[in-house]
């Protein structure tokens, strides 16, 4: 039973929103809560994607002995073909492969975040931004020019963990898994933002000096936040690769994976996870609509319509920065206990004896 076209369109849209929302949430954790201007978001996203393109497939090929002296890149179609056959008849293996690959991608992202930020982690944020941007460009250069990693300019297909699902339901299940991951990431960053840790991050963002006088190690928090943020973004990149069942270095660019998430976070509202979510939703939906109607414009202009889109995005970002810097959904004050709850706790302490006198 094939899915109706509208459903396919919607599933496609939801998958893209899910992936970009994961990336935007990771940037929101870094920039919104801690104020780290990560202009190298591409690094972690591409890192996660390159990891699942380069490592898990090779591991599977060795485990199931389909290498037989073949070259993973040159004979990729043959190897991935036989791996897909094994995976399609074994759902449990497919799921284990998916989960382990995502964990690996997260680790790879965290390591990349550590290495990339190391030279500038102790300096002012603008040095850090420049360094991260440069590191991301280098990873892209390597992915593009080193064919043994992920096939260079041509890219490679990767073993498909959703092969056991027949026909068009494959993308339905894949999208559900993407949205479930988004749910888990959202729950995590929301918990972090409400925890004492989240308050420390905001304290450092708002005034480094005063946070430092209270004994908070800024460099350590910055490093940890960048590693966690990069791990989350790498999961986003890995999920995108599994969704398309391929990795191409050319698919990862400063515009798409650094600039777009920034637009989402700023427009949606920094330091508010639901803002980042709304930003990603609006952004991806608008792009989808624009690309749908693009063909109507094309005959009338002497240039590629995609550039108008870039122009519009750049202008929109500047206008938001000027007139609504807090974004669509502004940052909320830190949630504290409700007055009723506080009263109950206070009366409990008072009732319990002399404990209240010590405070």
């Amino acid at each position: 039973m094939p899915l109706p076209i509208a459903a396919v369109f919607l599933i496609d849209l939801l998958a893209f929103i899910g992936i970009f929302a994961i990336i935007a949430l990771s940037l929101n954790l870094e920039f919104g809560y801690m104020g780290i201007p990560n202009f190298g978001k591409l690094l972690a996203v591409a890192g996660g994607a390159f990891f699942v393109g380069a490592i898990p497939g090779r591991v599977l090929a060795y485990v199931f002995g389909v290498m037989n002296g073949l070259d993973y890149i040159r004979d990729n179609l043959k190897i991935v073909g036989s791996l897909n056959q094994i995976l399609s008849s074994n759902p449990a293996l497919s799921i284990a492969y998916l989960i382990l690959s995502l964990i690996g991608a997260a680790l790879a992202g965290a390591i990349l975040g550590y290495i990339a930020s190391y030279p500038a982690i102790r300096l002012r944020e603008d040095y850090l931004a420049i360094t991260l941007l440069a590191m991301a460009e280098i990873l892209r250069t390597i992915g593009y020019n080193w064919p043994d990693l992920i096939g260079g300019t041509k890219g490679i297909p990767i073993p498909d963990p959703f092969r056991w699902i027949s026909g068009e339901f494959r993308i339905l299940v894949a999208t559900i898994i993407i949205l479930a991951t988004l749910g888990a990431v959202l729950a995590y960053v929301e918990l972090v933002s409400r925890s004492p840790l989240g308050r420390v991050l905001r304290a450092i963002r708002d005034n480094e000096l005063s946070a430092e006088t209270y004994g908070k190690d800024i460099v350590k928090f910055r490093m940890k936040t960048l590693m966690v943020g990069s791990a989350i973004a790498a999961i986003g990149g890995a999920l995108y690769s599994f969704w398309t069942a391929s990795v191409t270095a050319a698919g990862f660019h400063r515009v798409t994976h650094t600039f777009w998430p920034w637009v989402m976070v700023i427009v949606g509202g920094a330091a508010n996870n639901f803002g980042a979510l709304v930003g990603a939703g609006i952004f991806v939906t608008l792009r989808k609509i624009i690309s749908f109607y693009k063909s109507y414009f094309e005959p009338y202009v002497p240039f590629d319509v995609v550039w108008l889109e870039y122009l519009f995005l750049g202008l929109a970002l500047i206008i938001v920065l000027m007139y609504r810097p807090e974004g669509l959904i502004p940052e909320k004050p830190t949630r504290t206990l409700s007055p009723d709850n506080l009263q109950r706790i206070i009366s409990k302490i008072r009732g319990g004896g002399g404990a209240s006198k010590e405070g």
Binding site: L133, T141, W262, Y310, G314
Partner: protein, 305 residues
């Protein structure tokens, strides 16, 4: 006979130092690393292309026009984006994001221009080079003499401007302490605007010369920006002479490093050229974060001697 590798290095290093000096100048005044700086040069590449391919003029005649186009593009960024944001109390991270947004706008404008030129005049606007418009002097291409000459003139002119003119001294005062400079009657906003004008102009000159030697594309500025930042950081980000030296250093290291490595280990290393400025930049940040000009050279020599 001049070694070709050294010739390449001299040209690239000269062009890079024009870019890094301008970037550092605006960083010193407005305190924001400008991520759109490479695009100021890219726009001027296209003025050179238009002059050469449509009007048949030498790109050297396009230098004043390139200066003007680059400086006005930079001034527009300051007046229409950065100044209003500063007035609203935006911090430098917001300003940085705004320069990235401006980068996007410029890239789309450049690409629209490139596509439209191809459409209207049937000329190649992607991966173009104008070497055939260059002249030859003592067996060298003209650019190998003109580029270093302009770079030296630039740094001398900047020195004279900042130390011998009233306005230049006022600019240094505004860099040193904006509020105090404002109190003694210096128009701080004007000095900042002029710094953007000069910075964009220098990038524009470099850009108008680039098609004579480099393969030009709408994304060249975007790709060069890593080298430009590396050069400025090596120079210390707060010293234009440091940025000039940093530009020369990174330029020579990139060209000579890639050249010699490709001879030793093979030509496969050539695409990895951007790693060289990144490594130099990382080492600078780790061991001398204030750059070459931030090192207390006198102390070191005193102790040594």
């Amino acid at each position: 006979m001049f070694p070709p590798l050294l010739r390449d290095a001299v040209i690239f290093a000269s062009l890079l130092s024009m870019l890094s000096t301008g970037l550092t100048l605006t960083y010193m005044t407005t305190k924001v690393p400008n991520f759109a700086h490479g695009d100021f040069a890219t726009i001027s590449m296209y003025t050179s292309l238009i002059l050469a391919e449509i009007f048949g003029l030498s790109p050297y005649l396009g230098i004043p026009l390139g200066f003007l186009v680059g400086s006005l593009t930079a001034l527009l960024l300051y007046i229409s984006v950065l100044k209003p944001l500063l007035d609203r109390g935006a911090n430098y991270i917001i300003l940085m994001i705004a320069t990235i947004a401006y980068d996007m706008i410029l890239i789309s404008v450049i690409n629209i221009l490139a596509d439209s030129l191809t459409y209207a005049y049937k000329i190649a606007t992607r991966l173009f080079i104008l070497k055939s418009y260059d002249f030859s002097i003592f067996g060298l291409p003209g650019i190998a003499v003109v580029a270093p000459l302009i770079a030296v003139v630039m740094v001398v002119a900047l020195y004279l401007f900042l130390n011998r003119t009233r306005f230049g001294i006022a600019m240094r005062a505004a860099i040193e302490n904006p509020s105090l400079a404002g109190v003694v009657g210096i128009n701080v906003n004007l000095t900042y605007a002029v710094s953007w004008f000069i910075s964009g102009g220098l990038a524009g000159i470099a850009g108008s010369l680039m098609p004579l030697w480099l393969m030009c594309n709408p994304d060249l500025g975007m790709r060069l920006i890593v080298s430009v930042f590396a050069a400025s950081i090596v120079g210390g980000l707060t010293n234009i002479y440091g940025a000039f030296i940093g530009g020369l250093l990174i330029g020579f290291a990139e060209v000579l490093g890639t050249g010699y490595l490709s001879i030793i280990v093979g030509s496969w290393v050539i695409p990895y050229r951007p790693i060289i400025p990144l490594v130099i930049m990382s080492l600078t940040l780790l061991f001398a974060p204030k750059g070459l000009t931030g090192i207390a050279w006198r102390e070191i020599f005193k102790r040594g001697g």
